[in-house]
């Protein structure tokens, strides 16, 4: 049973560029949440997707957008990259109904903006 997977593992971009990160949820999960973890800090909630719609959003600008596909996988897009966007981006999956109390995390994508 595959857990949550994320790609790529590492990514280097320059300011102003755009980036897309990908996440495949744990088998059977239908909800995907994205978090940003700056170095030395706890993860910060970006947004959550269920049934291909954004259900909740944290305090992040519109440069951060996402998408969920019919197979429940998800993408996180960040436009007009800033140096401050450098972070570990974590994806977590869960059930929308039963089991919503626990989220399973992927290994993360390390984004470096130069």
């Amino acid at each position: 049973d595959a857990g949550v997977t994320q790609s790529p593992t590492h990514l280097i971009k320059t300011r102003g560029q755009q980036v897309t990160l990908r996440c495949s949820p744990k088998s059977g999960h239908d909800t995907v949440s994205w978090y940003q973890q700056a170095l030395g800090q706890g993860p910060q909630f970006i947004f959550q997707y269920y049934e291909e719609e954004e259900r909740q959003r944290g305090n992040f600008p519109d440069r951060f957008s996402g998408h969920q596909f019919p197979n429940y996988s998800s993408e996180l897009n960040v436009n007009a990259l800033l140096l401050g966007d450098s972070a570990l981006y974590l994806c977590a999956s869960s059930y929308w109904t039963s089991g919503r109390d626990e989220q399973f995390f992927g290994p993360g994508t390390r984004l470096t903006v130069l």
Binding site: G42, P43, F45, Q56, S94, D101, E102, Q103, F105, P107
Partner: protein, 112 residues
């Protein structure tokens, strides 16, 4: 606003000893979940233990146990018989309405 506070940025413990990590949180919700996550240098966030707020009994998972004080909004983690593999960042987290709020973390080092 919902917040999670971990007042110990760094801690260390001798192998085989017991250590307690502190966590306090603030919320107006009555139904919620609390978690302790472990994040080793490999970056993978691993669930250590969870507690449902409506349950008075403290959760236990092998060497890990919590002291949940709902009125005080306190949720500490006790690690017994510490092992070298316990070295990691530990995050206290709060879940209500599908959004997980994390604390800033405590870096735990287990010393041989």
């Amino acid at each position: 606003a919902q917040t999670v506070t971990q007042s110990q940025p760094e801690m260390s413990v001798q192998e085989a000893e017991t250590v307690t990590l502190s966590c306090t949180y603030d919320t107006s919700e009555n139904n919620y979940y609390l978690f302790w996550y472990k994040q080793p240098p490999s970056r993978q966030m691993i669930l250590v233990i969870r507690q449902e707020a409506y349950k008075q009994q403290n959760a236990t998972e092998n060497r890990f146990s919590v002291n949940f004080q709902k009125a005080a909004k306190s949720f500490s983690l006790k690690i017994s018989d510490s092992q070298l593999g316990d070295t990691a960042m530990y995050f206290c987290a709060f879940l209500a309405y599908d959004k997980v709020i994390f604390g800033p973390g405590t870096s735990l080092s287990v010393i041989p």
